[in-house]
Symmetry: C4
Subunit: 253 residues, 4 copies
């Protein structure tokens, strides 16, 4: 419920004392400074980010905009956002630094996970604690044990998920496979597992985290959001199918 | 998240270079250019068209207004709509042409399916990916196999569905029968199955698509929308009844 | 989606040609002309009156305000309301007449049922097609057969329901009993069953209708609405309890 | 639906006849007079306080602001709030007195329960009738009998709950334990049980009430609200896990 607009740029190792508020001021509704608050309000209403859970980040050129940690997601305002300088993937990680840090807020623990997606070409990355996502990770664990995949086929909404970069979208008869990684006590420690899953599944646009939620990314904010919606639709449908004794993947046999 | 208002009318084989933006500008809230965005926002909130799924189309005289493909349905604005010239059913399909095509958007793959409804007298056609619709198609398939019907009786809400053109509405004791067709990899390929089901069930105002969703139409936008709501109510109720071991159609025995 | 403000008072057997629009024009948010549209919007969002189902009526002195039949409940506006002259219960029914009838709309088929509640002192009566209400009528029917009651006890929310006129509210350990009547093909034919149930259960503020929904009334609009909310909460809880094998009424044994 | 702004300060034993309306007038959205109505609207939309159930209270210095009893929670306005003088925990309870009492409203029966939380350092206390909270108390009762705890572990959202004052937040592998007390016929009679549970579980920030709901408190309004959201998320997840046969606490064996 922070309302102060003070920003601390002391993390800027260049000693740059400039005020970076202009980075989060725009009349364009498509600007990340406006889009992140609007998206977070919708995610709150779907129950994905209640209790300060989850997070959202958008890349715009060399700037990464990130929702802060531990705040009420439906109340985020533009001036609450962190901005990270992110020259391009070819620069070393040391070139990355916060150029806007609201003094009264903490940066998101999801930041290294968002960067893992940006390093692989994403323009937006969304993290939710969706209950449907958590439930499918539990159902898969009981059936298949650790390190499995959530798999579903022959449901129209699968067509909302890309087949991989530049490969178009999945077909109706394809099996959608979402990797599941094990949760860790600290969010930032998920990075290794997430990057490993990303590298092992270079065509994936999402990774489920057991007993935790999901990371979804896309080339644009609109793609990340709609892919997140399509996946959540499929997870909820899968839980209901399980209750009704209906198999998820009729390609399997 | 397209905001440009540019339109491409190059599809107009008459070489007509007129700007057709006036077709989607109206102060009347009942005008299709205003009604489609408002309806899509509601459908999004019911979870029927998340992830860019689903679509809506309204006929007004010789003009068909259609929501574009692949966009966030809750964000559609009037200037995003396609307009198709649709002289009357007696003209050959070749007389149909887009007279307004937003340059940055794709026409809906549902278009031939919407036209199938307009050819049979509809004034509005709605396509949703409702999870309840998908689940009832799966439950019917398991019990009855392919090409069945969803049937339910003795539920008050059935009275919200017409018995057929000019025949009034179903009675409480009637059995509501909604045909189910098989899904196809490409949405446009559903047209044949949909038209076949429409012709075999001339009194139906809706066709379920297995593992996909539903097409609902009506004489007016209000009728199509409220029939869609009544059917979705019945599908959700039917899924809950199944979980509780309650039969859908007590007329059957 | 009617927007015309024309009213037909030809039903006024006094030949009174006065325009009665002033009856539905008020700046007071508590006036029935403003309260009914606001309440209907909320009921729509709870899923109680989708597909034009359900209805709401408020008595204010000698005037009964009634939402019209067959319209989208979330879009009702003040000028869509019917107004019935209702001198007092001691006058014969012939003294009742519409003094405001929107020309383009049909009066609600629930009207005689609403009047049954007003005849017994209600100030507001609400009719919903709540799926939870329908499901509990089905569960009771399977267990107990026709003409039973929905009974639940030892749930805090029971305390939101009055024990009867001037008798305060139910206690936590009491058993709430809601009569269930059988549905009829025509809504108005429910009147006899509803009145019989009202007279047999003079302390009841609600009657469930099998496979249909519920009628709830109260001394004021606020009481009717909050009692309707409390009952719906209990019905949804009861359905979930049934799924989990938890008994509704621990007073029974 | 009370709109009068009259306040009765006759309870002020000092004979102070001052008008205390200024206590509930502020342009600051973070002021309790604005925050309580906003929070109650959200709680209504989550289904936590329908039917006038539940309540919310915020402490600001020596003033306790409390939502009134028996009103529609989504309609509460600043001028409907009660204000209690609350010098500090070291003063005797006799030092506590209402300094603002809206004449047309009743003080909340939850008041002594809210004070129990404020006496232990809380800045805000929330009471909901969440159905998920009620259902987990019933499931625990069936398995473990009276006076048990709700326990869950290895779910990420657990990390939204503090480990105790000044002890940080729970870890992912910890078991969250929420005490459950038995319900009583009168809300105020819960005070003894609640205080006993608070003293026996000094690190708890919430107590479940069997067949009734939950009391959640926190150091600030934002913490109380987000902890309430996290707990409700966990209760809903736990009910769904139970339906799917998934154990809540894998630390147990």
């Amino acid at each position: 419920m922070a309302t102060t607009q003070n920003t601390d740029v002391s993390a800027d190792t260049n000693g740059n004392s400039e005020n970076y508020d202009h980075l989060v001021q725009s009349a364009d509704p498509e600007h990340p400074a406006n889009l992140i608050p609007e998206m977070c309000r919708k995610f709150y209403n779907w129950g994905w980010v209640t209790g300060t859970g989850g997070g959202t980040s958008i890349r715009r050129g060399e700037h990464i905009f990130i929702a802060p940690s531990g705040v009420q997601k439906e109340l985020i305002q533009s001036h609450n956002l962190f901005v990270l300088q992110y020259p391009t993937p070819k620069y070393p990680p040391s070139a990355r630094k916060y150029i806007r840090k609201p003094l009264d807020l903490k940066p998101s623990a999801c930041t290294p996970l968002f960067l893992a997606a940006f390093d692989r070409g994403a323009g937006c990355c969304i993290h939710t604690h969706s209950q449907w996502a958590v439930l499918v990770t539990l159902l898969v664990e009981r059936e298949l044990g650790k390190e499995g995949y959530f798999e579903i086929s022959n449901i129209e909404q699968i067509k909302g998920i890309p087949r991989g970069k530049g490969k178009g979208y999945l077909d109706y008869h394809d099996t959608l496979k979402i990797p599941i990684i094990e949760n860790t006590p600290y969010e930032e420690d998920l990075t290794e597992g997430l990057e490993k899953a990303m590298d092992a599944n270079p065509d994936a646009y999402a990774v489920l985290v057991r007993r935790h939620g999901i990371y979804v990314w896309g080339e644009t904010p609109a793609k990340a959001k709609t892919q997140c919606e399509s996946l959540d639709y499929l997870f909820q449908l899968a839980v209901e199918m399980h209750k009704l004794g209906l198999p998820w993947d009729i390609n399997r046999k």
